[in-house]
Amino acid sequence: MGKLYDRLMKDYRLREGLNACINCGTCTAICPAAEFYRYDPRRIVDIVQHQDDEQIEELLKSNTIWYCGECMSCVTRCPRRNAAGLVIMALRNLAIETGLFMESEKGRQMYLLCKDLNHNVLNYGYCVYPRLFGYKEHQEAGLVWEWVHDNIDDVFDRLGANLDKDGPGAMRKIPQKDLDELKRIYDITGATERLEHVRQAGLKKAEELGLTEEEYCQKLYTECSPKHFNH
């Protein structure tokens, strides 16, 4: 048994998500990621169940573990009640803890995800905050979203929301006392530490590349090697 495997086994998601895999490939057949990316959840579950640290380390450094969409479609169909999606989550967690996420293009995207999503959670109390969901970065949100965004207070008012105002209702301003509680939860459960760890790793990389933070973010947001795809 290897050291990385031991660390994985401390993750409740792995303990819940990995029983004996019979390599049937049903998960791969149903998996939306496997159709799009060069990705095979069956293989990942098999590597982990073999407890081979060298191969696990390769996985942690690879793009492969970042292809999953965490849809959990694989869970329903696995004849052994494995959850490839949960195994992936445990692997991603370990890739971040060990710093090995920085070895792959898809892993490095964690910098942006950590920054944007948790900015929303800690400052507004929501994972998505519509004022920061701009049309420029999200043109696929449609011309109707451009209109909504340009008239956001009026449209939200019209639709019975309570955008940034006191009291209950959709997109209300969440009281500071509650946001402080979220921050304390982040502090004692390891989220604050993780966010800082990911931030420092990203800033170091940006410096190595001679990029400003903004340029680095833009690179992460748009860079895409053709080697990820299935066809």
Partner: protein
């Protein structure tokens, strides 16, 4: 025969849904993109059906999108969830209704993990006390808001002004239902009808006069994939999954789509627009798309709400052809007005999608 068999399977997955008295928790995505749907849910349940659905401004995100994008540890999300449950208890409720499928799946998973690993539950309870001075509690009943609309579907039908029927032909409308992966793919017994034959939306469609469209990719993911949509360079994943679904449903000529999860209607609506504008392909009739709705919007339509009060002007795929088919009246001049008739201009028109 096959249909009878399916009915039998549904019968095995009948979850218990209490009639009344719920603590209500909102969804980040539904609030951002379909705020009127949540307003409609509360108006129908509270004001039309007289139910007690309580909301406090102190609840927050469950952290689900941050968690499923792997940015925060499991212990963090579990403590945020414990805080939500503790608020329910503090306000005197034991039934919990949430407006989000990602949250619902995560609540189910969290409660299952706590059951399996009591030492973890103990740790989370301690975290909760240290950070928020709240007493740990768990819901007696956990439901998604669509479970409640399903529960009340006959009461809604009894108050309906319209049916999901083509007024010209008298035929039931052909309705595609999309459940949202995290509703029951992990824990089939927690969803109405299980994972293979979920009945939660089918029950509404049948009760309101429509006809279900079965098609090969019916259970396929919409393609959100969290990080796969949020980062621009991954977005092809999201688009290609929606594309796969539309190609699969197209031969069955659906009139409309009804969705369970707050994210799915956004993706199924917006990616149709992207496919139309980039490939020139449309899936509805005469250059239109197939209109996509939340279950609250459909409940509102059959009950006779004004389509613009339901927020249907914020969809990219135009809903008017469907409203005309059913015979629901609407005033085109009021489509883009704000409160008190304030004119807000109009969105630009897509080049291909009508």
């Amino acid at each position: 025969m096959i249909y009878e068999g399916k009915k039998k399977i549904w019968a095995e997955y009948q979850k218990e849904i209490p009639e009344d008295h719920y603590f209500y928790v909102r969804s980040c995505i539904r609030q951002s993109f379909f705020p009127a749907s949540e307003a409609t849910f509360l108006d129908i349940t509270r004001n039309k059906l007289g139910k007690d659905i309580f909301e406090t401004e102190h609840h927050t995100t469950c952290g689900g999108i941050a968690y499923h994008s792997d940015t925060i540890p499991q212990e963090t999300v579990m403590t945020i969830i414990a805080r939500q449950f503790a608020l329910m208890h503090k306000y005197g409720y034991e039934n919990y209704v949430c407006s989000c499928i990602t949250s619902f799946g995560l609540y189910c998973e969290t409660m299952e993990t706590w059951r399996e690993f009591p030492e973890l539950q103990q740790k989370i309870a301690e975290n909760l006390w240290k950070t928020c001075h709240l007493e740990f509690a768990k819901p007696k009943f956990l439901v998604h808001a669509s479970d409640l609309v399903f529960k009340y579907r006959m009461q809604i039908a009894a108050k309906s002004k319209f049916k999901l029927v083509n007024k010209n032909t008298g035929e039931p409308l052909r309705v595609v239902e999309h459940i949202g992966c995290h509703y029951s793919k992990m824990f089939p017994s927690k969803g109405v009808g299980g994972a293979e034959y979920p009945y939660v939306l089918v029950g509404m469609i049948e009760a309101w006069g429509g006809q279900i469209v079965d098609y090969p990719e019916r259970r396929h993911c919409c393609g959100f994939g969290f990080r796969q949509y949020l980062i621009k360079s991954n977005r092809g994943y999201s688009l290609s999954n929606t594309h796969k679904k539309f190609e699969s449903m197209e031969p069955f000529k659906p009139d409309m789509i009804i969705t369970n999860c707050p994210g799915c209607p956004y993706f199924l609506d917006r990616w149709q627009y992207v496919i139309a504008e980039t490939e020139g392909k449309t899936y509805g009739e005469n250059g239109h798309g197939i209109p996509v709705f939340t279950y609250e919007e459909v409940a509102g339509l059959v009950m006779g709400y004004d389509p613009w009060d339901l927020g249907l002007q914020t969809h990219q795929v135009s809903v008017e052809p469907l409203l005309d088919k059913i015979g629901i009246p609407y005033d085109p001049a009021k489509k883009y007005l704000g409160k008190n008739g304030k004119y807000l201009g109009e969105p630009q028109k897509p080049q291909c999608l009508k």
